[in-house]
């Protein structure tokens, strides 16, 4: 029935939309707005997912954390050599890192201990450390900080050094030896790179321990077997693989956008009823027009076709409008208000640009979520209109 398009009928439908004027404009605006909202949410979620995936790729293949009584605690350095002896393990690195709460600004800094003689466990860190001389850093008691950290410190009048307070209550000053800029800023904006022994002092940790252990393997396929071997040897170690992280992030974001979609469906339902109502309420002119056309030899299916074209044109133009508006809102304006829902409010995190990620899949998805639903809402009203008695115009 709907397979071959009658161009004249389509043209008639366009004219009829024009003649309805205000009603069409109202529906178009509301529908565009809904699609815009939906498209924005999906685009932000996708962009953040992409950003996270880029970040995740730089994360270690296996991270080992020690759990005692359900809480993460430090791992003894003596385990490093044991793990290194397992078949397939390429490198094992103990890490010293943590958060330092800076009370005056009410923010947490991420502190990572670096060692001049160790290959950093992250590609990104190694890029950072290559531009700064770690040996002099160690000798002179300096640190390298992210741009966000630098700004916060400056606001609190620490322009060339910073006094850490150790758990024992002593001061531990470190010079700000350098500032790094970050393009992928989600993770590195709040970062402080300090020499390893400084990190031990700031956290008050014993030098025989590490926060956690990072393992690299030769062949990624072997990751599950190696994880199994390690956790059999040390039952108190919990292993997190890159894949685990990827899946859990993906789940979180699917969940968040799913939550939005569920809200959206409530809107859709309300909208469905509004449209049904609007489409059913025919003015006396419209009724008369349909009566005339039927008397002139239009079939019910011709009337339904016109109505179908009307709603398709309507839904499709709203789809295009909403989609383009969302593109502009998300990628040009960087989605004010909406993005904070997905990222959280941490002071130091925000400044990064949403990477552009729009694919056919998202367009198809948006299409299925909007156009068929709108058409469905107008299906029965269209049929009802087509059922109007033609002999009314005879009186």
């Amino acid at each position: 029935m709907l397979a071959n398009v009658n161009v004249l009928l389509l043209d008639y439908a366009l004219g009829s939309l024009k003649r309805q004027g205000g009603k069409s404009v109202f529906i178009l605006i509301v529908l565009s707005l809904l699609i815009f909202l939906l498209a924005s949410v999906l685009m932000i979620a996708d962009a953040i997912k992409l950003e996270l995936n880029t970040t995740l790729k730089t994360l270690p293949q296996i991270t080992l954390q020690r759990f005692v009584a359900g809480k993460q605690t430090n791992v003894s350095l003596s385990r490093v050599d044991t793990i290194l002896a397992f078949n397939g393990v390429e490198r094992v690195m103990p890490r010293v890192w943590g958060y330092y709460y800076f009370k005056p600004a009410g923010v947490n800094f991420s502190i990572v201990g670096v060692d001049a003689y160790e290959e950093p466990y992250k590609k990104r860190l190694s890029e950072l450390t290559r531009t700064f001389d770690l040996l002099t850093l160690e000798k002179e008691g300096g640190m390298i900080v992210g741009e966000g950290v630098k700004n916060v410190l400056q606001e609190n009048y620490y322009s060339d050094f910073f006094n850490f307070i150790t758990p024992k209550g002593e001061r531990y000053p470190l010079k700000i030896a350098g500032v790094f800029h970050s393009d992928i800023a989600l993770e590195s904006n709040d970062l402080m790179l300090v020499p390893k022994q400084a990190a031990y002092a700031i956290f008050g940790m014993s030098p025989e321990e590490a926060t956690d252990i990072v393992v690299h393997v030769n062949n990624p396929v072997e990751i599950p077997t190696i994880v199994q071997k390690i956790t059999e040897r040390y039952p108190d170690l919990r292993a997190i693989t890159q894949d685990d992280l990827r899946i859990s992030y993906q789940n979180i974001f699917d969940y968040k956008s799913g939550f939005f979609l569920s809200l959206f469906i409530v809107c859709v339902f309300a909208f469905f009823i509004v449209i049904y109502d609007k489409a059913s309420a025919l003015s006396s002119e419209e009724r008369r027009e349909i009566g005339i056309l039927k008397a002139l030899g239009w079939r019910m299916s011709d009337i339904v076709h016109v109505k179908f074209y009307e709603s398709f044109v309507m839904a499709f133009s709203a789809f295009i409008t909403g989609f383009c508006a969302a593109l502009f809102f998300v990628y040009v304006l960087q989605a004010p208000l909406l993005r904070s829902v997905f990222i959280g409010y941490s002071e130091l995190k925000p400044p990064f640009r949403l990477p552009f990620s729009v694919d056919v899949k998202m367009i198809v998805l948006l299409f299925f979520l909007s156009v068929p639903v709108y058409i469905a809402a107008t299906l029965i009203p269209a049929w009802k209109a087509a059922c109007l008695d033609a002999d009314e115009v005879m009186r």
Partner: protein
């Protein structure tokens, strides 16, 4: 259960189908019960209008079902990156016990509702509306697979467990699999290939004989054996891997989404002959257009799928 946007979209449209399908079902029951084709009372007049509503609804559902089927497979494909062990849609589909039945129902429904629309057209072209009762009784029957499909789909997505480890297509479509598919592997794949070409020859012969019944039978056989031959014989040539037999992977980007085209051709070809043939049997006539279309699409499919082993042979000088 994981509510990705794709799943929500599919479930939302399922709800829409269920709603409209329900309306159509109630109306069909009324029409099937009270239709008298020779009477011209107000009631018959009203029923005729309602029957038109049913056809509008079914048109709507059918027009959406075709792209949605592709979208369903696509969604499963996408989920395969989340679910451990799944490499393509087949792993996801098979991660739930009834996943394969869901897919089968989807395919069957496409044939069945396409047939209904053809029957509807034939009915509406006749002054006496000879098939009205038949078509609504049939719709009530066809509603069962539609309902089953929607139910299975909802069940499928709610019981989908992202942390469960599933098998990938490599094991599902191999002789080692525990399912009935492995039985097919016990026969030499060359035989399946020959049966497939045999069925095609049969359908061409049926076209020549101008017999609707022969066309229906040969095309149903063709649909079945084309699938089997695709899994067992042709797919390794598409993937250029002797052990890869998956019918889903060829829907992936790596193979230029060629599966969507091939399956569409196969469906269109077998559909026109099978559904059109049944219609011709009912009407006791011969509509040449159906069989022309069928032959056209079937031939395109056969040429398309045959190109893979041929080009492989030409490039490598051996058969897989």
């Amino acid at each position: 259960m994981s509510l990705t946007p794709e799943i929500i979209a599919l479930l939302l449209l399922d709800a829409v189908f269920l709603f409209f399908g329900g309306i159509a079902f109630v109306l069909s029951a009324r029409i099937a019960w009270r239709w008298r084709s020779h009477e011209t009372t107000e009631l018959q007049y009203a029923l005729h209008r309602q029957s038109y509503l049913v056809s509008v609804i079914i048109n709507y559902i059918f027009m959406l079902k075709i792209p949605l089927f592709a979208f369903f497979i696509y969604t499963c494909d996408k989920l395969s990156s989340i679910i451990t062990g799944a490499m393509c849609a087949s792993g996801v589909v098979n991660s739930v016990d009834f996943g394969l039945y869901l897919t089968l129902f989807k395919i069957v429904n496409l044939y069945v509702f396409g047939f209904w629309l053809l029957l509807n057209d034939a009915d509406m072209n006749e002054e006496k509306l000879p098939f009205t009762r038949l078509k609504f009784v049939l719709f009530m029957l066809f509603f069962i697979p539609l309902f089953a499909e929607i139910g299975l789909e909802i069940g499928f997505f709610t019981s989908l467990n992202v942390s469960k480890i599933v098998s990938c297509c490599g094991t599902l479509f191999s002789a080692a699999s525990t399912s009935s598919i492995s039985l097919l592997f016990s026969v030499d794949e060359k035989i399946w290939m020959m049966i497939f070409y045999g069925c095609f020859a049969l359908s061409v012969a049926a076209y020549g004989s101008r017999s609707p019944l022969a066309s229906v039978v040969s095309n149903l056989l063709l649909a079945l054996f084309a699938l089997i031959a695709l899994i067992l014989f042709f797919s390794p040539y598409v993937y250029e891997l002797p052990t890869h037999h998956c019918p889903f992977c060829l829907l992936q980007k790596e193979y230029f989404y060629v599966g969507y085209l091939l399956y569409a051709l196969l469906f269109a070809g077998t559909f026109y002959a099978a559904a059109g043939g049944v219609l011709d049997l009912v009407q006791k006539r011969y509509t040449k257009r159906f069989y022309n279309l069928s032959l056209f699409f079937n031939t395109l499919y056969v040429i398309g799928i045959s190109l893979y082993p041929l080009s492989y042979y030409l490039r490598n000088g051996v058969w897989l």
